[in-house]
Symmetry: C2
Subunit: 369 residues, 2 copies
Amino acid sequence: MESSLLDTAAAAASLCAAAGGRRRAGSTASFLSCSCSPRDCRVSASYSRSISRMLSGVRSAARRKLFRADPADLLGVANWPEAGVAGHHQQQHWWAALEHNFVLESTDDEYGGVVVDADRLPADKAAFARSLAASLSYWKSVGKKGVWLKLPVDRAEFVPLAVKEGFKYHHAEESYLMMTYWIPDEPNMLPANASHQVGVGGFVINDQMEVLVVQEKYCGSSLDGVWKLPTGFILASEEIYTGASREVKEETGVDTEFVDVVAFRHAHNVAFQKSDLFFICMLRPVSSEIKIDETEIQAAKWMPLEEFVKQPFIQEDHMFQKIMDICIQCLRKCYCGLTPHHVVSRFDDRTSTLYYNVAEPEDVNCSAT
Amino acid sequence: MESSLLDTAAAAASLCAAAGGRRRAGSTASFLSCSCSPRDCRVSASYSRSISRMLSGVRSAARRKLFRADPADLLGVANWPEAGVAGHHQQQHWWAALEHNFVLESTDDEYGGVVVDADRLPADKAAFARSLAASLSYWKSVGKKGVWLKLPVDRAEFVPLAVKEGFKYHHAEESYLMMTYWIPDEPNMLPANASHQVGVGGFVINDQMEVLVVQEKYCGSSLDGVWKLPTGFILASEEIYTGASREVKEETGVDTEFVDVVAFRHAHNVAFQKSDLFFICMLRPVSSEIKIDETEIQAAKWMPLEEFVKQPFIQEDHMFQKIMDICIQCLRKCYCGLTPHHVVSRFDDRTSTLYYNVAEPEDVNCSAT
């Protein structure tokens, strides 16, 4: 929720009090009605008019927040100028200086934190540096916790300025870098970013008990020359059940229908020190002609299942052996995989896919061990 | 693989040829033995000694690569200086200028790409900017594909320089920003970063058919006041089967043993536009005393299962209802979840966890629909 009007009023009251040499924090005195005494409140008539003019000026009130400070202190002068022509010119000059120290445009999140508006950042480095310092000071004073600062790539020059203020890197995408600042002296509660890459492998077997296999071009020396299942990463926001069929189609040209997830593998420190979830999927072929993707695949073919599992790289590898055992159990109808089902939830207002086991008694009347 | 010695020799040969006005690219002439003709090779004796001195000097040969260019062109002069005192001073000056344009220290990856050594970056912005431009030019000339540039947070000032050269953000962690550059005029084949966050929920039920439930402090208005299963994100490099028990322990103080994964949910655009995998896990309690984590949990208790499932937020929500149906099927032994098994694979030389279905016939002799 934008709190600009309240903050502005609070700041105005603060400035009002500060003009008399005392600072008030957190006051919510109404806009322009000052609760300070005549002695405290040395705000001149032109000062009030300046506030009014500035706040109702071209820049909307929501875009500007007065910095919570004594303006004289802020500007390094002894007194706020008196009324009159000379004083007026000084005031204009000092208002310009004040305007340079606005708090960054932001919204509050549900956890006492602040999300800076990436579309309302100052245009230049100097203004950003000043605003960032001013904003941090303000946010600390009002008890904010986490600060989220999303810097678009065309504001890359702001990155070192934010680091200098104590912001940390959180995550990045091609178009932006997200930085965070945790204010309170307690454990950092800000959520982490994505931690896993997700891959899929397709076990595609036809009525002749032949499995669809590929030889990759870039596979590392340990897999050089072996025939393996088609595998790949799912795309951003892609379903596992569509990703598996897509990968098989891209690599081999074969169309398939998704049957179920038969198992998944969880590994750590795989790439960029992140973790990896790999879903082994049973797919039913609905075409047979092979056409490979030559950028990644050396060759593809339908290979007799027996020949496939007899390859040394499977026979000599604990994990591959186990995966093939599971796939063969599936073929014998002695296994319950997890099938995808669309579900809707009110709690986060979205449709998602729930994978679970749906078995008929006649499908599981033998041991799967 | 570091190619500094080859590159150095090649560059030396190139300079050698270039001194005669012709450039040779990709030559692998052995170190200091120049294959150019006397006419081509106007390398003075002092020039050779300079190369030798520099390459065997304090900085190791592996740390410096001579820029592939005509030094005279590079320095904007007509001729490389002749031997003699005056020429020597000029050479010293020009060697210093040459040294300012070195290719960044890097290693080759398996895919025709380059990984810049983050521990060998130049110390200042100007040197980095020059080296980066020189490096890109060199990598393009030798047909490199992807460039990985990891900038530690204490080199934040290099970020805008890299953006200016055309590097893109790839991902970031607290201590660094990874940037990439895809050189060839073909689809970018660089792998993406992690795309999913992973959460776990623990279904813990005791012998009295009471389920362990919590009320959270910060849950959003739609879940305000409801009793839910303990849930949370797994930590970096944490196993699902330990993460589930840890979350239950942290939130409620109850110790549990992991039984199996009964289902998982896949959702998209959840946080930072990334996807979410949530694993519903069956856990067996091995203690009963409750002690909540007051930073996140309002209250926790053992609730009769019937009362738990009758809550409106479950009755009125398609997804929660389905999850509870599955959990109840598990209790009735009419369900096969996925159990974790350690497996080792030679293909990536690591231990990982394979989750699959291990069922005994007597456990699955009823319909799970």
